[in-house]
């Protein structure tokens, strides 16, 4: 078990290192930072002084190491637009994003998983067809189209809800719905196929042949086994709590991390972009790590395997 955990932890760290490296490489490839930050017509002495100050004349590996240590100290640079530390700018947007993504996550899980299980248990019934149709529609309708349609119906035509902004809880309804419907569809589709696969397994037949009632077999054998792939995709959703609302936040002018990212990309505010990239990577990697741990808890086979490999 320790070995299993160690391996997972090492992989998570490796992914983070790769993300930092990715940011570093992309930053360096995108042009001379001196020219990028100072304007192109700055005097050559000023540029030379800048390069000196930031160590841009040092060998690349030294710059890379310095970059790494700076990030470990939490120094992610300043926003080019207002000179405040990038991490501060990002941190103050996080609550707004979570205010959308957490209720949406609850909606995805609360609607998607039961719908998927129900559809799988009543395969080819009318309800199954309906769930699958909705699931395919939820996958193929992009979030900005869904969001704008909701605005068109509930804000423009009916006038029930505001179309954008962040003044009261009523402003959050449409964005949360937009996020939740799409995600619930994906989750329902996934849960259904996971369930169907499990229901066709020999151990289900064995259980039924032994005389276990259907509902007990489903509860004791099918659900725990189907939970394993489903946990993976839920983990991905948890991991994208911060990053998953980029488009929806833009549709509803919601001042969250995603909106900040879009504005920062448009302005090429590299420090902010990089900070969000690292933040998202960290959440994602942590979520994956938790999922890996959950596997161990959910699946005795993995525990046994890990033990076997250990001793």
């Amino acid at each position: 078990m320790v070995r299993f955990l160690g391996l997972r932890l090492a992989r998570a760290l490796l992914t983070l290192v790769l993300v930092v490296t990715f940011a570093f490489i992309v930053l360096r490839l995108s042009g001379d930072p001196a020219l990028l930050i100072m304007s192109a017509d700055a005097p050559p002495e000023a540029i030379a002084a800048f390069r000196q100050a930031w160590g841009l004349d040092d060998p690349v590996w030294q710059q890379y190491l310095r970059y790494f240590t700076a990030i470990f100290r939490g120094d992610l640079g300043q926003s080019m637009r207002d000179g405040r530390p990038a991490i501060e700018l990002v941190a103050e947007r996080v609550p707004a994003t979570l205010a959308l993504t957490l209720p949406a996550l609850a909606m995805k899980i609360g609607l998607g998983i039961p719908a998927g299980i129900y559809a799988a248990l009543h395969r080819n019934s009318f309800a199954d067809r309906a769930v699958m149709l909705l699931a395919v529609a939820g996958f193929t309708v992009p979030s900005f189209v869904l969001g704008l349609l909701l605005v068109l119906v509930f804000a423009v035509q009916l006038g029930w809800l505001p179309s954008g902004g962040q003044d009261s809880w009523r402003h959050a309804i449409l964005p949360v719905l937009t996020l939740g419907i799409g995600g619930a569809a994906v989750l329902a589709r996934f849960t259904r196929s996971a369930m169907l696969e499990v229901l066709g397994q020999p151990y289900m037949r064995t259980a039924l042949a032994k005389g276990v009632p259907w509902h007990v077999a489903v509860r004791r054998h099918a659900l725990p086994n189907a939970a394993i792939p489903t946990v993976t995709i839920v983990g991905f959703m948890v991991g994208s709590l911060l990053a998953g609302a980029v488009v929806v936040e833009s549709v509803f002018s919601w001042p969250g991390v995603g909106r900040l990212l879009v504005v920062a990309v448009a302005n090429r505010d590299l420090a902010v972009v990089q900070c969000i990239l690292l933040l998202v990577a960290t959440t994602m990697v942590s979520a994956n790590l938790i999922v890996d741990l959950l596997y161990g808890a959910l699946d005795p086979r993995l525990r046994a395997q890990a033990k076997g490999a250990n001793g």
């Binding site: 189209v145 991991g239 833009s250 990212l261 994602m284």
Partner: protein, 292 residues
Amino acid sequence: MSDLALPATISAAPPRRRRVRLPPLVIFAIGWLSLMLLTAFAADLVAPYPYTALDLRNRLSPPVFMGGTWLHPLGTDELGRDVLSRLIVSIRMSLLIAFGATAIGAILGVTLGFLAAHFRGAAEQAVLALVDFQASMPFLILALAVLAFFGNSLPLFICLLGLHGWERYARIARGLAVSASSQGYAAAVVQLGASPWRVYTRHVLPNIASTLIVSMTLAFPEIILLESGLSFLGLGVQPPLTSLGNMVGYGREYLTRAPWILLAPSCVIVLTTLSVSLLGDWLRDRLDPTLR
């Protein structure tokens, strides 16, 4: 009639050549995609106006079914540009990007997968680490980061979207190539003196093609959605060029006064992704039931 009656002679043929009975939804999907492809190829012939032409006297005129005139069947935007013409040109642009990006992703992924399968060892570990990295990051964020660092141009944008989903092809190609090399036919051609290049392109690739095609049909709608999402945010295709997502993003400003600007491209996006998904699901069931 969609009922494809079997001619008497066919029944004597081996079972694999039996006529395929297409479900109605798949027929619809094929029909819609053919229409889209035709539109894309004949965009300049079909479009009633140049897509940038202004008609200032008919600004914000509604489409025919909302009380407009046949002069502009799908209405005009606030500069009097014909929505239908812009839609046709946008379809071409979006399909071009989606096809280009899907092809790049498939080629990149398959190449890396084969390299990993061929060299094993460190190369394989490196590819697998990259696959893990790509699979664990939301692609939209990576794409936005690259766009922020490099700025935007159409070729770069297509290549960037081509990076979407390569990890899936790499995984599939590596797994299947590893199992192919243990199956004997690959070993046999190696024994006959074939170069690795020949083994992989002429013998392994055809054997895994059906799985790859299925993954491509599953990746294609995702790329359309990604492209339109980025263009919607104003970070994808840049004006004066236009794409479907671009049109939606632009039409959003006129949501209350002229919803048709936004609804026409939205419908095309939804129907196209839906059609490709339906076709992909159906192909998967027919060609490769092992996928997912």
